[in-house]
Every structure is written in structure tokens, then in C-alpha cells.
Symmetry: C2
Subunit: 401 residues, 2 copies
């Protein structure tokens, strides 16, 4: 860039993502893309949203089109507080703030908690959008060790916890790995963080998308004085509304509200009121099971296809919920190079490397089972399995590659 | 605050606004409030918005509820580029980015352009929301001298311009003063800034709300390679949608898109598509004249009331557009103290001091003529005039106070 303008240091450090550029072509209809985290549009409750929108126009059009409070629409905040008061904890509406998607919560937390060089603990790997949002505030990421049950709490040392501003966790069906932390790990994590004086940030967009077994208690419920919880309507209603929320201890909530005011004054009144109407009368408790059935079925299809089409050297998990499966290929495979070949075959995924704050594993990849309809999962996975096999064969006998 | 959490330096510097707390009571219906910048809900085109929303549900509900591109909905960006291609300049859609209200544009510009200590030129006084948004990135504000015609370009020295990251200007009906910069000043400003290599940020939420004379060319039109232009649908359609936009030189646009992605992924697809439908077929060119007529009338009423009820020692301007009148009372009057008395009388305004980046003038105040309906302007101004007179009398003969 010929810098006629002097950019801030944080902006200079922003690099455009090569993978993002590659993935742009996956928007073409002929590409079977397991890359995006787009919910299936078949799950959008269009008639309910339309009914709710009509109700807002009938009953409170002027208020819905006017400026509103920075904290959000009070009745929606009250509804969120009630819905998250479970597992023995009572959430007060004064702890709730509506955000413009839960992505905004990440940005506001970064603003309010991160100075250049601040230590921030993140999972290995972690949600790319969070790493990007925090990076703008120039933290020092400290990667937490993980296994198939999420964060390995036994590996968290006093040294690693010391002076950390916060730890960022996705305990339910993590993006990108699809892993869920068991109850004991959750309890241990919150206990260790609280004892060390480290704030816990719990990002939970997928918690309701549980396909096997009971929902586990949130980290929030284990110590609401030391956990910021982030929720979203993107996966249970529709992402195009950009509606999420934060639940924060009150002394932090006030600062977050001030940062939110500077960021966009408030989240659209219009969409807040529509969502408030849409979720009344237990609508989500009727709607979410339909999403679970669809996604649970698609998850099964993808796991079945992995078993049939992927080589024995590949490893993957069988998620109990969420949207993603994490695949580890043999060392030596570079999934970024593989993506270019896959796109030529009209199939796509996301390479795993960008999800690592440090020491990326280039032989990993993320598959989404929610966006592509069931009938295309089989074909896409067949193509991808063949490519993976060819790639591994090429590594074993490089002359043939 | 008992800091259990270690806040970032920028968050520690955030102080809750005493005036914001005082103004919370102005939401009570018995208070005649000239404080808020709320557009009159009578101007919201509810039937048109309802029609546009129905069209979106009929024609593209799934896409409107799905994630969308960070830059914004392409047809809306194209429409904005066309609408801003005037006064001899052609804007390309690739220069346009949709923002979550134009407030978000301020935040993104701060992120991308301001390092701690960076020099940022601002008007004296300037929009409080901009000062707050930029402050989070810890700039050094350098106040530009102003008079009744806005920025005094003759007073801009090479020394003041040197190494400034950008200058922030509201050339049309500035918030808080209601002032408009004449053509010659605009040309001189852009010329000086360009020669000094200082980027110009032009914030223009009120440009279409012109009640007298022609609209003047934007700063953007004078040098699109060196101006970032910020527009909004808040004052011409409805603020509750939180829909604004940025037009930026392409080398800066890319960085702003990256910052936007980290901030909220994208502005709601739903509201972007509704607004796109609403503005078709020249709707704004029919609708905006209605807003102008209403606000122009209310402006006249307020100026007339100022002439009748305010003392000779007070000074104010007669705005040619926008939403605000700026009042200067004799030195010694503290309008923050006056506000407390005014609220007891059920009338409110905003004290001027917070709008100054440096050397606040405590004897100034801002009046909005758009929120309060015509029939209440007279009564509110009568009360306020009496309070001002009493305050000035108290200062002249402090024993009686």
C-alpha cells in the first residue's frame, strides 16, 4: 500500500486474509462449500419473523424506528435475563446488554480490557473472528492446551494465569473444533480462573444446538461475578438480524455500555423489537428442536461420509452439537494448498491454520455440516475424500505429486 | 470502581457523563426537552417502510435473514454511489461501505487512523459522539478555530496541520452549532488539507436538511482522493434502523472493511434490504421536502421564541438547516447549573461545555428544534427564557441569587 495516509499501528498490522480471498469463489452456486459458518436458511422462521414484524408495525412503529437506549430494548433485556437464569443462578436485566451480533461483544471486550501487550488466554485453536477482534488491541495471546474435551485445565499453570486480563472460551461445540467441555472441566476452569483473579469470557453461540444429551451448565452459572457470557440469536433465529447480547458483572457492564455508545450508539431498535415479539410464548422452545433435528441429521451424514470416503490416516471428531467437525490429516499435508485443488473440484472447506494464535497446524481443516443441504453432503464429501487420499499419496511418494 | 478486573487504559479514562445522567430524566413525558437529537417521529415514513419490509419478505426473505458481505448489500452500495456522484465527481460502489449508523464510521476511522498521541484536528466545538469515539484511541485533539461560518481556514497554520492524522469536519449544519461552511471556506479547507497531506473526514448527517438556499458541494466532491465522507439514513428515513455509510479512498476502504469485519461482521442484511427497497423510485426526493418543511417551520418558531423570550445579552444563530441552534449566554453563566434548574421547571437543553475538546465555554448551550412538536416549542422557550433572565440577573446582583 502506498501510504498517503498514516495508518494506526493496529491497522498496519491488519493483513488481508489469503484464505478469505480464496473462499470468495465458494459463493458460486456450483461450489459445495463446507467452509462457511452460514446457518441453513431452511431453519429461518420466516413466517414467525413476518408475523412479529407486522406486530411491531401495528403496535410500536414510531418507537421501533426511533433512537433507543444504548443498553438495548428493556423488555428484550428482561427476557434474556429470565432465559439465562438457570442452573441455580439469577441474572438481572441490568447485567444484560444487547449487541450488534455477538461479534460486537468481542470488539467491546477487547476495547475495555486489552492494552498493548496484555496477556489474553485463548484455546488452541480458537474462533478466528475473536482472534481478529482482539488483535486490533494488540494483546499477547497465551494459547491454552486443549484435547478432545476442550481446555486441559490440569495444564493451566499459575504462571500462565498470572496477570492475564481474561481467558476466552467456547465451551459448547467450539468453533472450529466442535468440541464440548464436560462438566468437571468447566467447574475446574472457573475455579482456577476465579482463584487467579482472571476474568472468564464465555462465548456461547451454539449452546442451544445440542444433538445428544443434556445441555451442560454454563460457565456463567458457576460464577456470574467472574464470567462475561456472550449469546446470539444468529443460530436460533437468523444471523441477518445481527442480534447478540452480553451478560456481564455490573462493574464491567457500565464500561461496556460506554464503549458501545461510542461504537454505534445502540443496536437497531427495529430488529430488537421484532426479535422480542418473535421469541414470545415459548417460540424458541418449539423452533430450536426443529433446527436440532435438521442439523443433527446432517452431522450424522457427514460423519458417515467421513468414515466411508476419508483415509484411515485422517482423524475427526463426532460432535454432540453445533455446526463444525475438525479434521486432522497426517503431518506434511498442507490444507491451504489442498483448498486450491478442492475449489477446482467445486468443493470447499476452511484450512485450520488461521484458527491458531500460535504454532498453527497446517494439516487441519474445519468442515461445516449445516450450510450444505443433506443431498449435497454426500457428493461433496466423496470429492473431498478423494482429494485428501490423493494428497496423502503424493506426500508418501513425492515423485508422483 | 473496585477494580477486580484490570481495565484497559482507554477504558479507565472513560468517565460516565454527569450530563447524560441528568438528561435521563428528560425522557419523562412532562419534560419539554430541547436536549436530544431525536428526529421527530412524525417524519418517519412508516407506510413506506412497511411496504418495503413486505417486499423484502415476499422477494428475498432468506437472503435478508442470512449473513451478508462485510462491505454491505451491493445494490444499496451502488445506489449510494450514484446518489453521491454529483458536483462533478463520480463515486464508485467499491468506495462505499455500509455502517451500523454513521457513529460506527467514527469508531472505525479512530481504529484505523489513531495511535496514542496522534494529532486529530476537530472543530471548536464539535460533535460529542465523535470526540467520545476517537478518545478511546487516545489521540491528541488539536482544536480548529471556528466562527459563525464554521472552520476559520485562514487560522489553520502549517504548524497545526503538520503530522495530523486527519481533520474532522461537519460542514453542513454542524452539531452542536447548526453552522454551515460557505463554498469558499470549503474549497480553502480541502486545498490546505490536501497540500499538507492531511486526510479530511466529512461527517454529513444533516446535509439534506437544508431549509434555505441551495445545497453546497460536499468536501468529498472537491477531492475524493483525500476525503472520507460519512452519510446516514437516520435523519432522512429513521434512526432506529442504524444505517449509515462511509465513502473512502480505496486504499483506506480495504482497511476499514477489515476493521468492520472484526467489529460486527456486517450491518444487518435485513435493514439494508428494507432501506434499499424504501429508497427506490426517487422516494427520498419526495419525502425529504416534507421533513424540510416541518423542521424549517419549527426552526422559525424557535428563533422567534428566542427573540421574544431570551434577554438581549444572549446570542444565537439562525440555522439554514439541520436540527440545532447554538446559544451563547453572558460570561459567568454556567449552563450545567442552569440545566438542573430547568429540569425542575420541566424543560431541558444540552450544556455546551462537553462539545469542546479543549477550553470549554460553560456559558453555551445547544437547543434542538426538531424533537418537540411546534405547539410545545413556545411554552418550553418561554420557561427557558425566564430561567436565563433570572440566572443573568443573579450573576449581576449575586446577593439576590
Amino acid at each position: 500500500m502506498t501510504a498517503k495516509f498514516t495508518l494506526s499501528k493496529r491497522a498496519q498490522a491488519l493483513t488481508s486474509s489469503a484464505i478469505r480471498e480464496i473462499l470468495k469463489v465458494t459463493e458460486r452456486p456450483e461450489v459445495i462449500s463446507f467452509a462457511g459458518g452460514l446457518p441453513s436458511p431452511a431453519t429461518f422462521p420466516i413466517e414467525r419473523m413476518r408475523w412479529a414484524t407486522d406486530k411491531v408495525f401495528d403496535e410500536c412503529a414510531q418507537a421501533a424506528l426511533q433512537y433507543g437506549p444504548t443498553e438495548g430494548f428493556t423488555p428484550l433485556r428482561e427476557w434474556i435475563a429470565r432465559r439465562n437464569s438457570k442452573h441455580g443462578v439469577t441474572i438481572r436485566p441490568s447485567q444484560v446488554m444487547i449487541t450488534t451480533g455477538s461479534q460486537q461483544g468481542l470488539d467491546l471486550l477487547g476495547k475495555v480490557l486489552i492494552d498493548p501487550g496484555s496477556k489474553v488466554l485463548v484455546e488452541t485453536p480458537s474462533y478466528l473472528g475473536a482472534l481478529q477482534a482482539y488483535s486490533l488491541f494488540e494483546p499477547q495471546f497465551s494459547p491454552m492446551q486443549t484435547d478432545e474435551n476442550g481446555i486441559v485445565t490440569d495444564a493451566l499453570t499459575a504462571e500462565q494465569l498470572k496477570d492475564a486480563r481474561f481467558m476466552y472460551c467456547l465451551p459448547n461445540f467450539q468453533n472450529p473444533t466442535g468440541r464440548r467441555m464436560p462438566l468437571e472441566r468447566r467447574q475446574d476452569l472457573v475455579k482456577k480462573a476465579t482463584e487467579a483473579g482472571v476474568l472468564v469470557v464465555e462465548d456461547d453461540p451454539y449452546g442451544e444446538l445440542s444433538y445428544q444429551g443434556e445441555q451442560l451448565p454454563s460457565l456463567l452459572s458457576m460464577n456470574p461475578d467472574n464470567v462475561v457470557y456472550m449469546g446470539s440469536f444468529s443460530k436460533v433465529l437468523a444471523p441477518g438480524l445481527r442480534l447478540g447480547y452480553l451478560i456481564a458483572p455490573e462493574e464491567l457492564h457500565g464500561k461496556l455500555v460506554q464503549a458501545k455508545q461510542a461504537a454505534d450508539l445502540h443496536t437497531p431498535s427495529f430488529s430488537q423489537r421484532i426479535v422480542y415479539e418473535a421469541v414470545q410464548d415459548g417460540f424458541l422452545d418449539r423452533h430450536i428442536p426443529e433446527i436440532r433435528t435438521l442439523y443433527g441429521h446432517q452431522c450424522e451424514l457427514m460423519v458417515s461420509a467421513l468414515e466411508r470416503y476419508f483415509p484411515a490416516e485422517a482423524q475427526w471428531n463426532r460432535p454432540a452439537g453445533g455446526m463444525f467437525i475438525w479434521v486432522t490429516l497426517p503431518e506434511g499435508v498442507d490444507t491451504t494448498a489442498l483448498l486450491t485443488k478442492a475449489i477446482e473440484q467445486h468443493v470447499a472447506f476452511v484450512p485450520g491454520a488461521p484458527f491458531f494464535a500460535a504454532n498453527p497446524q497446517p494439516n487441519t481443516l474445519r468442515l461445516s455440516f449445516v450450510t450444505v443441504p443433506a443431498e449435497k453432503i454426500e457428493l461433496g464429501m466423496q470429492k473431498l475424500g478423494a482429494l485428501v487420499k490423493a494428497e496423502i499419496a503424493g506426500i508418501k511418494s513425492p515423485v508422483a505429486a
